[in-house]
């Protein structure tokens, strides 16, 4: 993985008495105290993280937690008080005015909460905006802008003006404007927050669809956790300018770093995020190449279970054996488990969302087995585990 954006010790303090505020900050005083003593607002405090190329990185937090401030320091719409942002190794805060404009023109596209479309320009002209700034010739401008509008599902609206479109469609234009000049990095500040739920879902799906094709590096700000969990490859959670946790969606749900994050994720719709692998438990397994009926039966007795999973040398699933059948087999004097193995077991891939499984899991009496792409057995899903995961209890792996 290539590092695309690297944020180091990034700090922003708003106000006049920056030195005092900085000193208090280094003494570990919090945002409220610093505001009371100096009148300065801590926007972001010592943020450190890296975003990889092709990653959809979501920044979450309540209003005022510093999300917009961080994203605006990435393209330096706001200068940092301390620390720097590196984009492809280039230190953003050190760039000259000219270099900064070049960086913004060539690499970064931004999408805004209230769309920020230019009302005096047509949809097509809006989409062409970035290219026009770069003085690309007009036929290329039109071609690329139309491609971008196509991509967001807006062909045929070229000559309309933004105020003739619905909010959802306006934001499609906003997205097309950012995509048209081939930006490698998309900055999306609450891009979908102003939309109705239905439009919002549509736009989320659209973004995922586009991302699958284009593999941009996307920094997406939101305050809806479900949205973050749906979109994010990784999620950063902020509070009062501080980073509370960075991790993959499942990691955040299953291992919240602290009480704050735990409270933050309360009430979230887990079924959409949790996958089979996060709710599965370890299966009791024997290797058919090494063990016969007697070993199998002893293992079941030792562990107080009534059936056991059987794999081959490569840990590929072969079947499962019932304790009754195995003891019958022993009475008959057979040494080969194969004759009693059951193979009609419900099976699922490790990265299947439990949302897709939940109905079937509640209907089948025997546990699902979880395998990877090569059919290697990963674990099994017990019904209770699913319910526990949805209700937010820790899943014991």
């Amino acid at each position: 993985m290539t590092e695309k954006v690297k944020v180091t010790n990034l700090t922003k303090i708003f106000g006049k008495q920056i030195p005092q505020a900085k000193k208090l900050l280094s003494e570990g005083k919090d945002k409220k105290e610093i505001l009371a003593q100096t009148g300065c607002t801590v926007g972001v405090n010592q943020a450190n993280f890296t975003i990889n190329e092709g990653e959809l990185f979501v920044i979450m937090g309540l209003s005022g937690s510093g999300k917009s401030t961080i994203i605006r320091m990435i393209n330096r719409l706001i200068n940092s008080t301390d620390g720097d942002v590196e984009i492809d190794g280039q230190k953003v805060m050190q760039l000259s005015k000219e270099e900064l404009r070049k960086l913004r023109q060539d690499k970064i596209g931004m999408v805004f909460q209230n769309f920020a479309l230019f009302p005096h320009l047509t949809v097509l002209q809006n989409a062409e905006y970035g290219l026009a700034l770069k003085k690309v010739d007009s036929s290329t401008q039109e071609k690329k802008a139309k491609e971008a509008l196509d991509l967001v599902g807006l062909n045929g609206y070229d000559q309309q003006y933004p105020d003739q479109l619905s909010g959802g469609m306006q934001q499609r234009v906003g997205l097309a404007r950012a995509l048209a000049n081939d930006a490698e990095i998309l900055l999306m500040d609450e891009a979908f927050s102003a939309l109705d739920p239905l439009y919002r879902k549509e736009m989320q799906d659209l973004l995922l669809q586009i991302q699958e094709k284009m593999h941009k590096t996307i920094i997406f700000i939101g305050h809806d956790l479900n949205e973050a969990l749906k979109l994010g490859d990784r999620i950063l959670i902020m509070r009062d300018g501080n980073i509370e946790q960075i991790g993959e969606p499942e990691e955040i749900l299953t291992h919240p770093a602290n009480d704050y994050v735990e409270r933050f994720i309360e009430g979230v719709d887990r079924t959409r995020v949790l996958t089979a692998s996060s709710v599965m438990t370890k299966a009791h397994v024997i290797n058919i190449a090494k063990a016969g009926p007697r070993v199998a039966l002893r293992r079941m007795r030792d562990n107080d279970i009534s059936s056991i999973y059987v794999v081959d040398n490569e840990n590929k699933f072969v079947g499962f054996a019932d304790a009754h059948d195995v003891s019958d087999l022993i009475k008959q004097g057979s040494k080969d488990l194969r004759s009693v193995l059951k193979t009609d077991v419900p099976k699922t891939l490790a990265d299947t969302p439990i949302n897709d499984l939940i109905n079937d899991i509640s209907k089948t009496p025997i546990p699902y087995i979880v395998v990877d792409e090569e059919d290697h057995l990963q674990g099994i899903i017990l019904r209770g585990a699913v319910l526990a995961a949805i209700s937010g209890e820790e899943v014991n792996a």
């Binding site: 719409l77 960086l103 913004r104 023109q105 920020a116 905006y129 700034l133 000049n181």
Partner: protein
């Protein structure tokens, strides 16, 4: 106050004016420059026969108000201009137009850049704002005297006096219009890497267009309100007719010339207003 003595403000101004008078050559060339503009506009008006002028105005109105209601106004224009022609004020009317248009043109050429500068620099705003107030509130007669001293008698000092009095709205409204462009649009333009020139031409001026046009409209109306005063220093036109009628104590003639001024005012007002009604 008496114990301190009056400040010799008048003396200071007089010596300033005296000092400036040594640059006669400079003022003469300015006069010649403005006279050329005025002559060019007047030349066009004199070229057109009355009927053709009326048709041109009607056609222009038709075009500028192409997506608005216009019939009633066009009838008013035709009748109003015919009345002026009939009353024998035609040439005075064109001279008044020349005065208003050339002073507005100068006010726009100076005022819009000044307004832009104010919008871009808060320091400039702090300095320019009181100067604008000063220009608008200082009684016109006060600067008519030095205007005559530097630019002689005639259209030029009249135009310049009108510029001083009429320019502030254009400057103010340009400043206001640009400052009113929403912050998020500015941010969007910045985020895509536009230069400040690209921002100005591609975003701020187009977005401020309507506000600026209403400033220009006010400038024209104020310019028109100066015609009588300007006539006192030799600017020809309807103002001269009013001024003479007042001198002869001839209420009827004064009223007739006054009506002609009102007709011109309404036509100019409606036409410039329709500039800012065109959508997008």
């Amino acid at each position: 106050m008496g114990s301190i003595g009056a400040l010799p403000l008048a003396d200071w101004v007089n010596s300033g004016v005296d000092w400036l008078s040594q640059f006669t050559g400079f003022f003469n060339s300015i006069t010649a420059f403005f006279q050329a503009i005025i002559d060019a506009i007047q030349w066009v008006f004199d070229l057109l026969p009355e009927w053709l002028f009326i048709i041109v105005i009607l056609a222009f109105t038709y075009w500028i108000k192409r997506d608005q209601k216009k019939l009633g106004f066009m009838i008013f224009e035709a009748l109003g201009l015919l009345l002026i022609w009939n009353l024998g004020f035609w040439r005075d009317m064109t001279q008044t137009l020349t005065l208003v248009l050339s002073s507005s043109l100068i006010a726009i050429v100076i005022g819009i850049p000044l307004g832009i500068w104010m919008a871009k620099s808060s320091k400039a705003e702090v300095v320019i704002k009181p100067i604008l107030d000063f220009m608008q509130t200082l009684p016109a007669f006060v600067y008519l005297i030095p205007a005559v001293a530097f630019f002689g008698i005639g259209m030029v000092p009249g135009v310049l006096a009108s510029v001083i009095f009429a320019m502030p709205p254009t400057v103010r409204m340009t400043n206001l219009g640009i400052r009113q462009v929403p912050e998020d649009l500015i941010e969007a333009a910045d985020s895509f890497g536009s230069t400040s020139w690209q921002k100005l031409i591609g975003l701020q001026l187009p977005m401020a267009k309507n506000t600026i046009m209403s400033g220009v409209n006010q400038t024209m109306m104020l310019g028109l309100s100066m015609v009588v005063i300007a006539s006192m220093i030799g600017a020809l036109g309807l103002g001269t007719q009013v001024y003479f009628a007042v001198g002869r104590n001839d209420a009827g003639a004064g009223f007739a010339a006054g009506i002609a001024v009102v007709i011109v005012a309404i036509i100019l007002d409606r036409i410039t207003q329709s500039f800012n009604k065109t959508s997008h």
